[in-house]
C-alpha cells in the first residue's frame, strides 16, 4: 500500500507536482499515467524519499520510506535503469544492495535467474543494453521480496519479448498480493497491463479509477462512422430514431451511441447504399489524450484533429 497525501513539489516557479492525493492498493497493478513531464518520476522519487516534498507526505506500507531500516524488504523500485555504476558488474551491484539490507547473498543468484540476466551478471554494466539494464533494475527491486513495487517506465526501450515479460511479471506480482505501481506515458502499454489507473497531467490528478470504470465511460461514447452516397437521406432516418449524427470533414457521417448493426439496419430500411461502415475505435489511448489534452506540456501546434475527435 502506498498512500500519497497532498504531495507537492515546487522547483522555482514550476510546480512539478501539485497537491496529489491517491492510494495504490495491494493485489492490483496500478498504472501511473501522464504525458512526459507530468510529474510521475518526481512523485515516485518523493515516495521513495529521494526528493523532499515542498509539502504533503507519502507513506509506504504505513511508514515514510526514508525511515525504513531495511527498505528493500518493504519496497523495491526501478526508477532509472541507467543509474548504475558502469564499472561494476551486475552481480556486484546486487551484492551491494543485499549487503545494505541484510539480505542473504543467495537471493542475488535467485533474482539474477528470475530476470534472466544469466551469465551477463558477471560482466560490467558498461556493456549492457538498455534491456539488460532494465532487467538488472528489476532484479534489484525484487531482491528483498518486497510487498510494494514501483517501476518507472520499465518497458522503455524493451523489445516485444521484454515488454511481454514485464507484463507477465507485474501481473504475477500483483496476483501474489503485492502493491504494484507502474508508470508510463503510453496508454497502450497500460491497456493490457493495469487494473487501476492514476492519471496525472501537469502535476495534478486527472483520474483515479479502475480500468473497468474508464472503459465503461468509453463505451458510452461509442461512435460509428458511415460512408454513403446519400448522406442527407440516411442522416434524416437516423435522426428520426433519436440518434445524434454529425458530418465529418471527409463527407462521412458520424453516429453517436449506436452500433454498426443499428446503423446498417437503418440504411437497409430506407434503402440507402452503404460504402463503408466502421466503429470508431475510441481506444484507451484516445480517452487518455482527451483527459490529458489540456495538460500536455509540450504539444505540437496545429495538430489536425482526427475524425474520431469531431464533436457537436
Amino acid at each position: 500500500m502506498i498512500e500519497v497525501r497532498g504531495l507537492t513539489k515546487q522547483y522555482g516557479a514550476v510546480r512539478a507536482v501539485d497537491d496529489l492525493t491517491f492510494d495504490v492498493r495491494p493485489g492490483k497493478v496500478t498504472g501511473f499515467l501522464g504525458p512526459n513531464g507530468a510529474g510521475k518520476s518526481t512523485t515516485m522519487r518523493m515516495v521513495l524519499g529521494l526528493d523532499r516534498p515542498t509539502s504533503g507526505s507519502a507513506l509506504v506500507a504505513g511508514r515514510p520510506f526514508a525511515r525504513l531500516a531495511e527498505p528493500l524488504r518493504t519496497a523495491g523500485a526501478l526508477l532509472d535503469a541507467q543509474a548504475v555504476h558502469p564499472g561494476r558488474s551486475g552481480r556486484d551491484h546486487l551484492r551491494v544492495a543485499a549487503r545494505a539490507n541484510g539480505i542473504p547473498l543467495r537471493r542475488v543468484e535467485e533474482v539474477v535467474d528470475q530476470v534472466g540476466l544469466g551469465p551477463a551478471a558477471r560482466r560490467r554494466v558498461k556493456g549492457y543494453s538498455l534491456g539488460m539494464r532494465q532487467r538488472l533494475g528489476i532484479a534489484t527491486a525484487l531482491l528483498g521480496d518486497p510487498a510494494v513495487l514501483l517501476f518507472d517506465e520499465p518497458m522503455n526501450g524493451l523489445d516485444l519479448d521484454g515488454v511481454r515479460w514485464i507484463r507477465r511479471l507485474v501481473r504475477e506480482l500483483a496476483d501474489e498480493g503485492r502493491t504494484v505501481l507502474l508508470s508510463s506515458h503510453l496508454m497502450s502499454e497500460m491497456e493490457q497491463t493495469a487494473d487501476h489507473l492514476v492519471i496525472i497531467g501537469r502535476g495534478r490528478l486527472i483520474a483515479d479509477a479502475s480500468m473497468a470504470e474508464v472503459m465503461r465511460g468509453e463505451s458510452a461514447r461509442r461512435q460509428v462512422q458511415v460512408r454513403t452516397p446519400s448522406p442527407d437521406e440516411l442522416a434524416g432516418a437516423l435522426l428520426r430514431r433519436q440518434l445524434r449524427v454529425h458530418p465529418t470533414d471527409v463527407g462521412d457521417l458520424l453516429v453517436e451511441g449506436a452500433s454498426p448493426e443499428t446503423v446498417g439496419d437503418v440504411a437497409l430500411e430506407v434503402g440507402v447504399a452503404v460504402h463503408r461502415l466502421a466503429e470508431v475505435h475510441n481506444s484507451l489511448e484516445q480517452i487518455y489524450l482527451d483527459l490529458t489534452g489540456d495538460s500536455v506540456q509540450y504539444r505540437v501546434a496545429a495538430e489536425p484533429e482526427p475524425a474520431g475527435q469531431v464533436r457537436p
Partner: protein
C-alpha cells in the same frame, strides 16, 4: 516466486546494525570498481618508490654508521606526494555516484541519510588511512634495505606512522566532504588538489605577505607541517587542529547537502 522467499523480520534492526550494513555495502562498493585499485596502485608506486628514493638520496653522504638517519622520512616524503592517490580514492567513492546517478539506488537501499553519511565518510577514510600507513611502513623498510646507514627505531617509526595516519584521515574526510558538497569529480579533484597541495605552496611563492599569511590557514599547510615537522611557524598541535577544522567544515558542508537536499 512465492510471497515468503525471505523470512519475515519481527525485530527491526537498530541504528548500529544499519550502520554496520551500510558500511559493509560501502566496502563492497569500493572494492568492486577498478578505479579503487588503480588509485591504490598509484599510491603504492609513489609512496614506496619515491619515498625510498628520497630517503636514500637524503642519506647519501650525510648518514654514517656513527650518525645514522632515521628512515621514517621515506614514508613521510612518499605520503606527501602519494596521498593524492588515496584522496582521489576517497573522493571518487563519493562523486562517481553522482556521475552515474547511482546515488539514487544507494539512497533507496540506505534511505537513512545520517547513517549513509557516517558509513560513506568512515569506509574510504579507514581504507585510505590503513593502506597509506602500511605503504609508508613499507617505504621506511625499503629505504632501510637500500641504504644500511639508515636506521628505524620502533618509537620513531610508530610516531611517524601516527602522524601519517592523522594526515591521511583528515585528508580523506576533507575529500569526502568536498565530494558530497560539489557532487562532481572534476570540481572535487580541483578543490582538493588546490587546498591540499597547490595553494599552500603557490601562495607562499609570490612573496606577498598577506597571501603567505593566508596560506598558513590552508589544510595543505597543516598536512606538510604534520608530515615533515617543519616549518616551525606552526606548532604540531596547531597543525593537527587546522587539519581537524578543515575536515569538520568539509564534512559539515557535504553532510548538509546530503541530508537536506534532493538526492541529485
Amino acid at each position: 516466486m512465492s510471497a515468503a522467499v525471505l523470512a519475515p523480520r519481527m525485530d527491526r534492526p537498530g541504528t548500529a546494525s544499519v550502520f554496520g550494513r551500510a558500511a559493509g555495502a560501502e566496502w563492497v562498493r569500493l572494492r568492486t570498481v577498478r578505479t579503487t585499485w588503480a588509485c591504490l596502485l598509484a599510491a603504492t608506486v609513489v609512496v614506496v618508490g619515491l619515498g625510498a628514493i628520497a630517503a636514500a638520496d637524503e642519506a647519501e653522504g650525510t648518514a654514517t654508521a656513527a650518525n645514522p638517519i632515521v628512515s621514517t622520512f621515506a614514508g613521510e616524503y612518499g605520503v606527501l606526494l602519494g596521498q593524492f592517490g588515496l584522496l582521489v580514492l576517497a573522493l571518487l567513492a563519493v562523486t562517481q555516484e553522482y556521475a552515474s546517478g547511482s546515488i539514487g539506488p544507494t539512497l533507496q537501499w540506505t534511505p537513512r541519510r545520517g547513517v549513509l553519511l557516517a558509513a560513506r565518510a568512515a569506509v574510504p577514510t579507514v581504507v585510505a588511512t590503513v593502506v597509506g600507513v602500511l605503504l609508508a611502513l613499507v617505504a621506511d623498510v625499503v629505504a632501510l634495505l637500500i641504504d644500511p646507514e639508515l636506521t628505524l627505531p620502533l618509537g620513531d617509526a610508530a610516531a611517524g606512522l601516527a602522524r601519517i595516519a592523522a594526515v591521511l584521515a583528515a585528508g580523506s574526510l576533507l575529500a569526502v566532504g568536498v565530494g558530497l558538497l560539489l557532487r562532481s569529480t572534476a570540481a572535487g579533484l580541483a578543490t582538493v588538489f588546490l587546498l591540499q597541495l597547490v595553494l599552500p605552496f603557490l601562495m607562499q611563492s609570490f612573496n606577498v605577505e598577506w597571501l603567505a599569511d593566508l596560506a598558513q590557514w590552508l589544510p595543505g599547510t597543516g598536512a606538510v607541517r604534520t608530515l615533515l615537522r617543519e616549518p616551525d611557524s606552526l606548532s604540531a598541535g596547531g597543525a593537527l587542529a587546522l587539519l581537524a577544522c578543515w575536515s569538520a567544515a568539509a564534512l559539515a558542508a557535504g553532510g548538509w547537502r546530503l541530508l537536506r537536499r534532493d538526492a541529485g
